[in-house]
Subunit: 181 residues, 2 copies
DNA sequence: TGGCATATACTCAAATTTGTATAGCCAAAA
DNA sequence: TTTTGGCTATACAAATTTGAGTATATGCCA
């Protein structure tokens, strides 16, 4: 929960903005690949943080008969909280939650063939990820809304993917030699 | 939520067991480092899954006047669900949720000095992680309750940590050269 | 100009998660 | 013998998250 708050505060701090636009920003950053951003929770977080005084409503824009846009802006308290959360995220070590490691835990419940198939499947996904990296590092750089250092985020993902590929290769070998599971 | 279910089903499938013992098993696997296992949610998941017919109560053991242990066992439906979830986790690519990447997103809000300090701090954590790896790969192997392939999980974590260390070194250099943020 | 896919924008009930509360047992120190 | 700290074991209210639901606008093609 502190993650979604930090993300929202960091977006609102730049300029007053409404929920849907925040969602688009997060999509633009591919945040769904490294954060829990169910889009419903943007709105919960916005009202909760408003209630707590971290944000305030700047204006509501009625466009036709659609739901009115609610534009939020950050308060001084909100700025302080952003700083606090940012430092917390930089200085504390919070584990990364990886569903694949849950799968690994029960490796021994798959047959040899299923396991090899799954490992190769995973290899595919990881390579697909990597091939996106070049695309993004080029394309996103020219996009004005995307800070240049967002590229570093993508590079880190690529590094994780490479590491996992190496690991998978070694596991495949062990499975083929009958040492695993 | 599917992750905690898979974990619990995979533990209960081996033998009838009560909630607290499940918790200890998860601690033994260092599950808090790669899964969301707030220990309260073990009990929620157990009763929910019982209600859904995936588990059933095998017995309740009253020891003195303490809360009675409720021992659960898996049902046929539960076995089927375990298989389904296991395959889902092996064959689908689910993103890993990484709070550090949220921090990276707002790298530019830290001063150069704060950033370098934070990066070095992170380096420390990662090296500490790595130094645990040798310990665990040795120690856990002799533990009967810990399947041998759990070691692979630890090796994967080490691979991620190494990858991140390399990434951090490159970022530090860029920051020192004034190219970031 | 009408129709269809896609985009805009938020709401809310239901499901899930969290963390604290409760409360007794046990071993060792004082 | 009493105190103290830590382990055993679950319950549950409160907070959070999810995702389907609602309803309108807009662009595009024929």
């Amino acid at each position: 929960m502190t993650a979604i708050r930090l993300l929202i505060l960091g977006i609102v701090i730049k300029e007053p903005i409404h929920g849907y636009e925040i969602r688009r920003q997060l999509e633009n950053w591919n945040a769904e690949q490294w954060a829990n951003v169910a889009y419903g929770s943007i709105y919960s977080a916005l009202s909760k943080m408003t209630q707590e005084g971290l944000l305030q409503v700047a204006q509501t824009e009625q466009i036709g008969a659609r739901p009115a846009r609610v534009v939020y802006e950050i308060t001084e308290i909100g700025r302080a909280e952003f700083d606090r959360l940012l430092h917390e995220h930089w200085l504390e070590y919070k584990p990364m939650i990886n569903p694949f490691q849950v799968a690994i835990t029960f490796m021994n419940h798959l047959s040899r063939d299923e396991l090899l198939k799954a490992l190769r499947q995973r290899t595919h996904f990881l390579k697909a990820q990597l091939s996106n990296v070049d695309f993004y590092t080029d394309a996103k750089l020219s996009d004005v809304d995307t800070p240049r250092h967002i590229r570093e985020n993508i590079r880190l993902m690529a590094a994780y993917a490479e590491a996992e590929l190496t690991w998978i290769r070694s596991v495949i070998e062990q499975v083929e030699r009958g040492e695993l599971p």
